[in-house]
Amino acid sequence: MDYNLATAATAPDKELVHYVNELTTINLGPTHPATHGVFQNVLKMDGEKIVSADTTVGYIHRAFEKLAEHRPLYQITPITDRLNYCSSPINNMGWHMTVEKLLGVQVPKRAQYIRVIMMELARISDHIICNSILGVDTGAFTGFLYVFQMREKIYEIYEEICGTRLTTNMGRLGGMERDLNERAITKLRAFLKEFPVVLQEFIDLFERNRIFMDRTLGVGAISAEMALNYGFTGPNLRAAGVDYDVRVHEPYSSYEDFKFEIPVGTIGCTYDRFLVRNEEMWQSVSIIQQALDNLPNDGFAADAEHYYLPPKQEVYRSMEALIYHFKIVMGEIDAPVGEVYHSVEGGNGELGFYLVSDGGRAPYRLHFRRPCFIYYQAYPEMIKDMVLSDAIVLLSSMNVIAGELDG
C-alpha cells in the first residue's frame, strides 16, 4: 500500500487527511471473471478512479518460439492453434501460407477459396465472442446466448472439415487435408441463411440500446496517431479511423477476388470497436457467400509430394506415397535456406510469422507477431483516470486473448 504521508504530516487534522490521500490497491486478475484470461493488473485507485496500473503478463507462457525451433515445419501447426484459440483456423492458414511462401508451393484456387471460407468463419466466431462478452460485461446476458448458438454451428462446420472444434489443426502445407464434403456445404449454406437473422437480432438488442450506449460510447477512446504508435492492428485500429487491413493491403489466399468493405470508426472508443466488429461480420458473411458461389474446381491440394502429406489410403497402396508419408512424418525433409515474413489478418489484428530457415528441417528461428501482445501495452495508459467499471468494458472490447498475449 502506498500512503502519501508527505502532506499529511503538516496538515491540521492528521487522521482525516490520511483517509483523503489514501490510495487503494486492487488486483484485477490474474484470475478474475472480468478479465477473460489469465493476466494481472495491479490498480492504484483513488476512490473509484484509476490512478495507475501495473500490468503483469506471462502467466500461460508456453515457449512456443523455443518449441518451434525443435519441430519439423508441419508439427508447428498445432502450436499456432493455441495462440488465438478463438480463431484457430486463421492461425493455421497463416502458418501454412508462410511455409508455402518459403517452399515456393503454389496452392490451387479451390484450396485458397476453402481457406478463405474457413478464415472468415473463424473471424465471425472471434468477433461473436468479443462482442457478446462485451454485452455480458455491461450486464446484457441475452445477446451472448443468442449468438453463441451460431458459434456452435461454426464449430460443427469445422468438425466436417478437420474433425476438431477449438484447436483445429486445419489444413496442411500445400492445401487442405480433404475437400469440402456435401455435409459441410449443406451446413455452410444453412449457416449463411440462419446467421444473418441472429446477427441482426443481436445488433437490434445492442446498437441503439440506451444502457449499452451509455456504458460504451466515448469510453476508452484512442486517437489514430496513438493507436498506430502503440502498434494497434485489426478492428481496434480500424475503430480509430485507420483503414489498414492485411487482406486488402497485401492480399493472400485470393482475397483480391472478393468484394468487401473495410469498416472504420471515428474516435476509437469501445462503441466504435463494437460497431466495426459487427460490420466486419456482415462483410465476412458476404465473402463466404462469394467464395461458396464461385468455388473453383482445380483440386484441394498442391502437387507437392515432398511436403503435402499423402492421403492415408494411398499410403497403404502405393510405394511413393508410403515413402513420402514416412519422410514427412519423421521430419526427414529439409526446408530451403531463407527468411520470410508473412502476415494475415487475424481476429484481433495482424498476425505475422517471421521464419528464418538455415536449411534444416526445423526453423532456425520463428517469431510470432502476436497482435494483442503489442496493443495490450497501451491498456495502462488508456485506463488512466477512468473508473473501474469502464476499464473492464474497455478491456473486454480490446479482445485480448491470453493464449496469444503470452505466446
Binding site: 506471462g58 518460439e65 525443435h70 518459403l102 498506430l228 515474413y341 526445423a362 517469431h367 503489442i374
Partner: protein, 166 residues
C-alpha cells in the same frame, strides 16, 4: 508504388557507410546497420516525408553462436502504411556487450517487444524506461532462447529423442 531500389538509394545517400548486407528475400528489402546509427536511421525513416515508416510491425531477437563478435541480433520490421511498403532492418552486437539503443522514444510499441527480446536473448536496450523480464519469472538467471539452452533437461534418461527434434 515505392520500390526497394528507391528506398535503398535514399537510405544510402544518408547512411551509406552504415548499411551492409543488402538483400531482398521474398521481395522484402533487408539490410544490416550498426547500433551507433540505429536511432538516427529509425528517426530518419519515421520523419521522412515520402516514406513515412511510422509503423513498427515487429521486433525480435536472434542468436547466431557462430558469428564471433556479432552473435546476437535484433530484427526490426517496419511498415509504411501510406506507401504500403515493408522493410527489414537488422543489427548485430557481441554477446559479451549486448547493448542496443532503445526505440521506445520513437515507437511506444517497442516497449514490451524490447522487454521480451531482453527476456529471451539478454539484449539490453539502453535508455529503455522499464527493462524487466516480461514472460519469465524475475528470478531467472539465463536467457532461454539462446541456442546453447536445450529444449529439455539433458539429464533425463527415460526418453529417447534421437529420432525426433533437431
Amino acid at each position: 508504388m515505392l520500390t526497394n531500389e528507391q528506398v535503398l538509394a535514399d537510405i544510402n545517400s544518408k547512411f551509406g557507410d552504415y548499411v551492409t548486407d543488402v538483400a531482398d528475400p521474398f521481395g522484402m528489402l533487408t539490410f544490416t546497420t550498426t547500433r551507433e546509427k540505429l536511432v538516427d536511421l529509425f528517426r530518419y525513416l519515421y520523419d521522412h516525408k515520402e516514406f513515412q515508416y511510422q509503423f513498427l510491425t515487429t521486433l525480435c531477437g536472434i542468436h547466431y553462436p557462430d558469428q564471433v563478435g556479432r552473435e546476437l541480433g535484433v530484427v526490426y520490421h517496419l511498415h509504411s502504411l501510406v506507401q504500403n511498403h515493408r522493410i527489414r532492418i537488422k543489427t548485430f552486437v557481441s554477446i559479451d556487450n549486448p547493448l542496443v539503443p532503445t526505440l521506445t522514444g520513437i515507437y511506444n510499441s517497442a516497449n514490451w517487444q524490447e522487454r521480451e527480446t531482453y527476456d529471451f536473448f539478454g539484449i539490453e536496450f539502453t535508455g529503455h524506461p522499464d527493462l524487466r523480464r516480461i514472460m519469465n519469472v524475475d528470478e531467472m538467471d539465463y536467457f532461454p532462447l539462446r541456442k546453447e539452452y536445450p529444449l529439455e533437461d539433458q539429464q533425463r534418461r527415460d526418453k529417447d529423442d534421437r529420432m525426433f527434434g533437431r
